[in-house]
Amino acid sequence: MNAISKRLVLILGLAVSVGVPGFAQQAHVGNLTGHAANGKKLYRRYCVGCHGPLGDGNGENAQWIDPKPRDFTAATFKCRSTPTGTLPTDQDLFDSVGRGFTNSNMPHWDALTDRNRIDLVAFIKSFSPRWTTEKPGDPIAIPPEPAITMQSITHGAELFQKMECWKCHGQQGRGDGPSASTLTDSKDNPIRPYNFAAGGDDSRFKCGVTNQDVYKIFITGLDGTPMPSFADVIQPNDAWDLVHFLRTLQTNRHSKENDVLKAAGGKIPTKAPDAPANPENKGSGGGN
């Protein structure tokens, strides 16, 4: 290789790395490093049909899909371990690709290797300049889960009233609260609140199946949807009580929470979830 062609290679290399900054994008999970250039090929094969060549969620299948495919150019993601308004971690995106999204057309891509998935995450991050100007948020702290008791479930039921979760999710968590029919996502597409009662043992939340995942959902909020963050308004132990109560709304799913409730007679004392709500009394009680 003579001097001129060496220089050409150098210039070309610079042009690629400077002119297409997205391609320098990487993603890290454990000791795996994903590269956008590798992810691009996989994206063209597996993702482009829905998410589109520009990553804006306008692939050719998008018109038939509800909820709509994610728009990666907005860099707003539902399932995060990070506070509302911040970018998710690479691990969050990696998990989302592997898990898929229940009640949507996004399948779980666990058939792809970890390497493929981390390459895809790196490529997804090339669609928004936010990934070069902002850092992911700091993952929220999740304290150890306390014991599942009737006391915890009962307190959770009170919080379900006080935080007015039922306004959207309904008193039985069936996704039929008074505001449910009016909800739209941030792109003005209609969106349904989660129906806790639907599904059996295989029922999943959008962002995972464990109690920790449920905890994360209402502390971080699901950005881009009506589901807000409760991080500033709920204490960690209260949040765990709410998790335990929410599990009892999954009436057809076997869980420790449902066992505890059943052993106690199947009824939540005084503040049953289907008791008529009186948010005003709750509100004045909590006023300070």
């Binding site: 707003t76 006080k162 505001s179 881009g224 009506p226 807000p228 948010p279």
Partner: protein, 234 residues
């Protein structure tokens, strides 16, 4: 010695207002032509604690007008040529949720300025600024919880909504200047304390978009700049 000090203090007191007066002012009126969309009454029956706060139902606020074709809630601001204002004012601006309504409907603030969001209602609200340039976030605020504190870093007109009460709509006008005003019920606005210079004045209305005009301030004077928006009947 003491007399001299007193004299200096007295001089300073006399001079400082004079220095302030050396700045110019832009004032004017925002009006519309044509027929603005009729505002619809809001049905709050799903939220009785809010409904009972309004003797007559309030209406939507996408276009708010006053007598003589006055146009309210228009953000008028210095969009170019303004004094360099990298620093946000220290005091916070406040956005209040009361009677399931945003007060004010349009809230202007400087980039980086503290925004306080207050819930005066006996119901939970979620504050959901649908930002595109800034970061979109969404926070729940149950009754009796302390004010939220937030800020926006980039210039943007951010629509704000409450998903629980879908009739609640408002705007955050995030500006790179503190020389702004929101037109009042007579359409009037005033931008004081402008040092001599050439300025671009922009007026923004949520449904009608923006208009700009250039103005030169050469000293202690008040220039009149009026804006007229063409109303859309839908």
């Amino acid at each position: 010695m003491r007399t001299k000090q007193l004299f200096l203090v007295a001089l300073a007191i006399m001079v400082s207002p004079a220095l302030l007066l050396a700045a110019g002012t832009v004032s004017g009126k925002v009006t519309y032509t044509g027929t603005p969309a009729k505002q619809k009454p809001i049905d709050m029956s799903k939220e009785p604690s809010c409904a009972k706060q309004h003797a007559t139902p309030i209406t939507t606020e996408t276009v708010v007008t006053g007598a003589n074709n006055a146009l309210e809630n228009v953000v008028v601001y210095i969009s170019a040529g303004g004094p360099d204002e990298l620093n946000a004012p220290a005091q916070a601006v406040t956005f209040t949720q009361k009677g399931c309504q945003y007060i004010p409907h349009v809230l202007a603030m400087h980039t980086g300025q503290e925004l306080k969001v207050v819930n005066d209602d006996q119901t939970s609200h979620n504050i959901h600024p649908l930002a595109k340039i800034n970061r979109e976030w969404n926070k729940s605020q149950p009754p009796g919880t302390p004010p939220l504190s937030e800020k926006f870093d980039k210039e943007e007109f951010v629509p704000v909504k409450c998903n629980v009460h879908p009739w609640m709509h408002g705007y955050f006008a995030v500006l790179k200047t503190s020389h702004y005003a929101i037109s009042g019920d007579n359409g009037g606005f005033t931008l004081p304390n402008l040092p001599p210079g050439k300025y671009t004045i922009t007026a923004w209305q949520e449904g009608y978009g923006t208009q700009t005009q250039d103005v030169t301030i050469s000293g202690n004077e008040t220039k009149t700049v009026d804006f007229t928006f063409k109303a859309k009947p839908y």
